[in-house]
């Protein structure tokens, strides 16, 4: 079994999908001969030709709009938005069009397509190469939002997303593109959308997280173990539709919850987890839910290590939850 980085696993998933299904196309800005700014599409044009992996004009609205047109007409487009920060010109196409198409046409027209895009901080990208915009999209019925945190999941979730009958926004944690390696099965396999993953066992407290925050949570949990706290870590990996039952089950079993994401706090994904627990599991809770998030500010450049939640902040939250 080959050992791959997360970005190599994405590349492997794209090649696997394109070998299996001729209707799968990959396009976006600089994804052709250059192979993408992070090399996620490296080698695709060489192997599959420029009709199946190609560069587009610099227009996110055009990329997603054209992808919808291809999807309604029998193709399986996988569009890349170079950075999630640049996706907003396509917001209308994603939110008003792709996500609503099945509903508004009574199923006559559907948009099975994937929009892949690197998100999140940790590369000194400042305001416009660092954001985590998942909350905007999770507020959109009809869309699926997927965030892998390991090479194995990146491949399996991306293949499942490409085969899914509905539009999927696939957020790739760019901070993890090359920082972790693991064995990834060759060939085709999928990881079901809408399922979470238990990362680490623990009976005292649970940290819900996703994407680039998963290794941060694990590190904090290891430090907490030295203090005598057994901390469970759960990777949500599909944010929409969320495995709500799984979340509630973990919350009820443990009774102390920390929610972790790098996006701003206000109306962030953590608010949904907190509300869900308050509505459905309050009687199981031994402490209030604590959120560890980015600040409600734009994303800074030089001081990004203070903005991004790290193990220190997560451990502090764990200690507060445990002390309650």
């Amino acid at each position: 079994m080959p050992t791959l980085t997360l970005v190599q696993a994405v590349n492997d998933a794209l090649k696997t999908a394109m070998r299996r299904d001729k209707s799968v196309l990959v396009f976006g800005e600089d994804v052709g001969p250059k192979g993408g700014v992070f090399l996620a599409t490296e080698g695709l044009t060489t192997e599959f030709g420029k009709e199946r992996c190609f560069d587009t004009p610099l227009s996110e609205d055009g990329i997603v709009g054209a992808a919808i047109g291809m999807a309604i007409n029998g193709l399986r487009p996988v569009a890349e938005i170079q950075f999630q920060d640049f996706i907003f010109p396509a917001f209308d196409q994603i939110v008003s069009e792709a996500a609503k198409l099945r509903y508004r046409s009574g199923g006559q027209y559907t948009a099975p397509m994937v929009i892949r895009t690197p998100y999140g901080g940790g590369i000194r990208g400042g305001l416009y190469h660092s954001q985590s915009g998942e909350a905007y999209f999770c507020h959109t019925p009809g869309l699926k939002v997927v965030v892998p945190s390991t090479p194995h999941d990146a491949k399996g979730l991306l293949l499942a997303s490409i085969e899914d009958p509905d539009p999927v926004l696939f957020l790739e944690p760019k901070a993890l593109y090359r920082s972790i390696k693991e064995e990834v099965p060759e060939g085709h396999y999928t990881v079901d959308l809408g399922t979470l993953r238990g990362v680490r066992e623990g009976k005292d407290c649970v940290v819900f997280c996703y994407g680039a925050m998963v290794p941060v949570a694990v590190k904090a949990a290891e430090q907490a173990a030295e203090l005598g706290h057994e901390v469970r870590v759960v990777d949500l990996r599909t944010l929409l539709p969320l495995d709500e039952e799984g979340v509630l089950e973990h919350a009820k079993q443990v009774g102390r919850v920390v929610v972790l994401h790098e996006a701003p706090r206000f109306c962030g994904f953590g608010a949904e987890i907190s509300a869900m627990i308050a509505e459905n599991a309050i009687e199981y809770m031994d402490a209030p839910v604590v959120r560890v998030t980015g600040f409600d500010t734009p994303f800074p450049n030089t001081l990004e290590h203070h903005y991004l939640p790290d193990a220190r902040r997560v451990l502090d939250a764990i200690e507060r939850v445990m002390a309650y």
Binding site: P57, S59, A67, A71, L75, Q93, K100, Y103, Y109, D166
Partner: protein
């Protein structure tokens, strides 16, 4: 540079200026009847809205020749990406007036299942008449994507995308035109310049000399046609369609016409359209223009008009009767078609809605069990 004068075919005397539209007598009368059918639909929809039986409509009066002339250039295997003011395109290709009326009433038989406002039609048969959305210009790059799929599969079908003068200011106009030209996609861009974007005249929309000229910057042909001349619109669209089929890429057609009614039934155009302008365009009525041509060919009389008008009225009346007799969509249609499969959170919300409806005695919820 100045835009050339619009292409026109039908002359004041009804002669076609040497142009042979290649349509049989039956086909010509079908074009004519479709325009009358659009008018009958419009008249009825206005009455239905004013009497509170439907909530909204979009008047088509004045634009019928553009709609029908363009639609007549397409085969059933081509795809239409319409605007909300394209009733004639659907009717020309044989969409049943009753199926359009089902949408106006938002009933259980509506292809959009009552989820959209009136006039937001969606059909796949007898032609792909793509689901209409309200945001302006979003369907231009979508048409390009669909056309690109035809091209990649080696099919010779084309996509025709229709939009108004206001649509040329949208993000989608730029991305759609640019992508289509770069990719040489088999797309026909039909800009229906009908004078106003709701209340804003074209001078407030663009400083260009018209809209067709914009094609030049994108690297595709742009032509201006008299949009009230059905045969001129047909001729220009046929040429654009043929070029697209042969791999020659996209074309922008600007059809100069005039919206003789409000933007919608909620709009009062007398607040912003000068009376003189309306009077001027009244003389250029597209239906009368085509009648002159049919008369010169010896296939039109007042009697023909009266008979066709009567049959159109009958068809629309029957459509209303059918649509009004059809009940509302069932409650579960709020939750279905969001995704291919109902996810657990929607099942839970649907179950809650059904249980509440049962407790409150709402008949629409049946026995109170969420059926999905």
């Amino acid at each position: 540079m100045k835009t050339e004068s619009p292409l026109s075919v039908i002359q004041a005397n009804g002669k076609a200026n040497g142009y042979d539209p290649g349509l049989s007598k039956e086909e010509l009368l079908h074009c004519y009847r479709t325009m009358l059918l659009v008018r009958a639909f419009d008249d009825t929809a206005l009455k239905l809205q004013r009497s509170g039986r439907i909530g909204f409509s979009i008047p088509n009066k004045g634009i019928e020749a553009t709609q029908v002339g363009a639609a007549s250039a397409l085969k059933k295997t081509d795809w239409l990406f319409p605007s909300y003011r394209d009733f004639g395109m659907a009717l020309y290709h044989g969409v049943r007036a009753a199926d359009m009326m089902n949408n106006m009433f938002g009933n259980a038989a509506d292809s959009a299942r009552g989820r959209q406002m009136p006039v937001h039609f969606s059909f796949t048969d007898p032609i792909h008449f793509f689901s209409i959305s309200s945001p302006i210009g979003t369907h231009l790059p979508q048409a390009v994507g669909a056309a690109h799929a035809f091209k990649l599969r080696g099919e010779s079908h084309v996509a025709l995308v229709s939009f108004g003068d206001g649509g040329t200011s949208s993000l989608g106009f730029h991305s759609g035109m640019n992508f289509a030209a770069v990719w040489k996609s088999p797309v026909v861009f039909l800009c229906q310049n009908n004078g106003y974007a709701i209340s804003c005249p074209i001078e407030e929309q663009t400083a260009s000399d018209g809209f067709a000229i914009k094609a030049q910057a994108y690297g595709m042909p742009g032509v201006v046609v008299d949009g009230n001349d059905l045969l001129a619109v047909r001729k220009a669209t046929m040429e654009a369609v043929e070029r697209a089929r042969k791999g020659g890429g996209p074309t922008l057609i600007e059809a100069k016409t005039f919206r003789m009614g409000g933007h919608s039934t909620s709009d009062d155009p007398s607040r912003y359209v000068p009376k003189e302008l309306v009077a001027e365009w009244e003389k250029k009525d597209p239906v009368q223009r085509f009648e002159k041509f049919l008369q010169a060919k010896g296939i039109w009389t007042e009697k023909v008009r009266a008979e066709l008008e009567a049959s159109c009225k009958e068809e629309i009346t029957a459509a209303v009767r059918e649509a009004e007799a059809t009940g509302q969509p069932p409650l579960e249609t709020i939750f279905s078609d969001v995704y291919a499969e109902l996810p657990p959170h929607l099942r839970r919300q649907g179950t809650e809605a059904f249980e509440l409806a049962r407790r409150k005695g709402d008949a629409a919820a049946g026995d109170g069990a969420f059926p999905l």
